[in-house]
Symmetry: D2
């Protein structure tokens, strides 16, 4: 950790801080300069953090040397992790497609959509039973009944299902009926929920929050892993910027960044990332091209009647076309679909 | 609601949509143009929303005429609401100062800080028992023990206390020990929590999320009010932008916007809004000047040793100076401190 | 144009505005509602704009029906435009690679880089003679001398060159030595410069501004085209957001958006869009995959000694690898390299 | 400057970089750690910058210790600067109000507005002759004719006038007719223009760009000052964020930040900063409260007919009310109006 002192800090005050660093068993460094004195502390930065030097009135700025996360980092775990959703491995040679409706609306809608995406080659299902919605007057999901329908869809198609969990208290119920948890963007920093999911062993698809930096996303994953659950899949789904032409700004730069800094698999959600049906296919291809391990796609048997997100859902025919068009890009990336 | 059709929509297709609008008992409007056909639907927009016209393949864009919220809106409730924290009215003539540490760290720290802010004229206490932190390796708060200490501080000083609640399951416990709930930025769209708080009658200070527009904040308040709890206080605490010179970008524009669109009281948190101790006082004064009803200020008996947010906490002397300097601005605003 | 009146507007006042609309020869529409009156005006929105109704005290909000641009729009020009840089067509079947150093630093550096990128298969050269830099103490480019060197590089390799122009007064000089102008992000709304470039017939690569929405970019292109120059190539190079892990946030969503709304070719600059050498190749592939017509890549013969942008420049070996890896993605997109 | 090396850097490579630092006559520091080696370089960071270490393949990250600007910095110039527009001092005890229309539209409009704002107590006039507009189809200003009218307004009222300059080539002309230059947000990084203005001695009001950090603004001011013109006034006018409820997000945090880091005067433009007439007065008061030295206000004799920005312009009555309401806040700030 590099500690830059204010110009007004005296040598005596610098020595005091050095003393504090030494008292923690760390190696201090003293670098007096013409305009600023700079201190260093070599050792575990999480230990140094306990000094709260950023609150010190004579400290101008602090620069960490190490990343604040550990278990998600590629430094200690250089090989790619593969996380299994049911029997489907995410993060390996196969590019994974998870498809289905935004929300489970009824048995007929879920089962027919599941059947359709299976026929086109999807590997897993998606479908929300608990829907966080900006307005209290919007459709909020079917709850447990939705989970049962989702489970039926898995039994009928053999595709494992991913579904959103919005509260720590629901973790056990969701775990019973689904193959993987999804944490939505609004809950990426719901730390109670993350902690609870860390105590499970089921895989967690962790979506990036709308105002979350990639580092925040990696730290949120660290919450889950630090409780013991190593089965985390990260998901880029767009961030909030000044651009309103699309629902969100899909930050694909995050894919090579995550691949460089973490061993965890990462997938992309071009449905939320664009919010526009016509842009889902091009951005799905871009996701393959920049190194993502899979995609999460909203498909609805009849988007025009969807209770949520219809404008960004593909119908089964469009999804079939997407799967066909995706293949050469997946092969160009040296993977298989 | 204004519905702009794509150029490819035929007259027949427009008529079909008009039929759907009529079938809901609403009044449709048909405006054929040279390049686009525009439709209108007059009536309750929440009813029209059930048509999900935004998902219709022939609809280019939809423009709502009415706001999506109702209970928080000033239109139906033109007079300012006053919400009481204990016996302290927020939203009336008095400008309210809520002060205290970021987190309750121990009895001595909380009680001495409480005593100090009381002496300088604060009206309410703040102090976190449950702390949502970006890193799993940071201090997470004392939990129930922190609530007990906070309650002791109230008993000793007579100042009602505000504290953060992070999960629906904690609402009853927090309600027992504190005078008001605080919902943090990361939980502004934790709809389960909002719904639960709506079933309480204790006041809720609802902080704006880092990626939340003011409209999102008003919709989140609508969640609480639609469950029956009218005691909502909004709080501007800064949003996330490209500017990194300060921790957040304090969006004071939101204050006159909220005052114009809602009857709810609104306060400002310049501690999180700037993240820099030296900028807290100027921005507190700016908050008074642009029409806020109060401020939320972090004060720590010894910021240098604070377990969180020390860099943005005032010490008791600085807080005393702030209170003194604030007074003429409060009077300029025609209010009292 | 849809005009939503404030609730306080009377019928008489609405009629007055209708009179103004009619006086311009446009067809007005009157839609009284229960909570708001809505007016419409059918006809050329650029004519209606002259009424400045957005300034009217009784107008709450205005929603345009048509796009504010015309010449760049695909509606009036459904087929893709192909713009030629020298003899190289951009926007056709071939995916175009423009490569070279950030800045022309000296003859040796420029010529050897040009030779290297040619050998690896680049179609055009890039190299800045006038460099806009955030700090007055940074290298500002060689000016006219740089243009001469660039021209020599073209003569030696046969590759046409693109170079930045920063001021209307330099347009004639740059036109003499380069095959295409580049307008940098900081100048995207330098309307004097755009107007001057509109009077040339040389192609213009117009880069998106850091705070510019895609609509702003299209409007800036309209400035050039409305002066008569149809040879505009748009360029996505990243926008400024809260994310600091990368230099900019490359907004690839803009590619399908532009393709849908405009007939102009669009290329991507992954060097500035990421600011990190290791992410250039993955994002170049993503650009192909989502439909871009080409890329702009910074290559330096020895990035470690580059006077600017060395951290995001590829060396010739890395560029050769990129070209090789790009090919299967270009073919997957049904194009050729 | 702190240089953090990649984990893969060997001791030998670190020594090489140290050699380069020494070769510039600077003092190097070597701090080997368990996971990373950190180097330091003590001395003028502008000299070290010439090494372009950020481009070095073994360098992970660089942290400057000093600010990149010098002349604008308060460190070398601890006292507040006072800049005179005509005879009006900005940055001293008096809080300065600069008022007038967005654009000079015609003689009658400019002169009557000038007379009105003078009567209400404005200290300077504003009025644009050259208007940068997003669309080529919008009113672009009267040009030189507008400058003549503005000059007439100054002669009639005695108030010095501020007007925008959009190109280096116009500097001489504008200097002849106006008391101060204004550089608009879109031109904050038009470095040719800044350089030219640096060669003048007339004051420059430099507006913050929509995507510019406060540090970028200070660096842009450094451009002007490094050419010899010390008469720079900074202006906060809002930045572009995801919030669309207001035209821009007025970042008042920048005021205490600038006051702490620079000696230059800083004013606020609440008209552009909000884009909404009703929010101009509250934000003008907030500007006083947080320490700004003045405000820039759009006033139009008849906003309803304004050719630009009518929705954010005050009429003379509203401006009179603002001046009256502003006074107690100015006094609370210990200044005079």
């Amino acid at each position: 950790m590099i500690i830059i002192l204010k110009p007004s800090a005296t040598k005596k005050e610098a020595k005091e801080i050095i003393g504090q660093i030494e008292s923690l068993g760390l190696k201090p460094l003293f670098m007096p300069g013409t305009e600023r004195t700079v201190l260093g502390a070599i050792g575990d930065e999480r230990v140094i953090a306990s000094l709260h030097l950023e609150s010190h009135p004579l400290v101008e700025r602090i620069t960490p040397i190490l990343t604040p996360y550990k278990l998600v980092s590629r430094e200690l775990h250089p090989k790619n992790s593969v996380v299994k959703i049911g029997s489907v491995p995410v993060g390996g040679k196969r590019f994974i497609v998870i498809a289905g409706p935004c929300a489970v609306e009824n048995r007929e809608q879920m089962l027919s959509t599941a059947q359709a995406v299976k026929e086109s080659g999807a590997h897993c299902l998606r479908g929300g039973a608990y829907k966080p919605r900006s307005s209290p007057y919007s459709f909020q999901g079917l709850g447990v009944k939705g989970l049962h329908i989702l489970n039926d869809a898995t039994e009928k198609t053999g595709l494992p299902a991913v579904t959103e969990v919005v509260e720590a208290g629901d973790v056990a119920t969701v775990a019973r009926w689904a193959a993987a948890f999804q944490v939505g963007a609004r809950n990426m920093q719901n730390f109670r929920l993350l902690t609870k999911l860390g105590q499970s062993r089921k895989p967690v698809i962790l979506k990036r929050g709308m105002a979350a930096s990639v580092e925040d996303l990696l730290l949120a994953a660290e919450y889950i892993m630090s409780e013991g659950n190593q089965n985390v899949i990260l998901c880029e789904r767009g961030i909030r910027t000044f651009e309103t032409a699309t629902r969100n700004t899909l930050d694909l730069n995050s894919i090579p960044y995550i691949k460089q800094h973490s061993h965890l698999p990462v997938i992309v959600d071009p449905s939320h990332g664009t919010g526009v049906r016509d842009y889902v296919a091009p951005m799905a291809k871009a996701a393959v091209a920049c190194g993502a391990d899979g995609i999460l796609i909203e498909v609805h048997i009849d988007p025009k009647t969807a209770l949520s997100d219809g404008h960004q859902s593909l119908n089964p025919e469009q999804f079939t076309v997407l799967m066909k068009e995706l293949r050469p890009f997946v092969e160009a990336a040296g993977r298989k679909l």
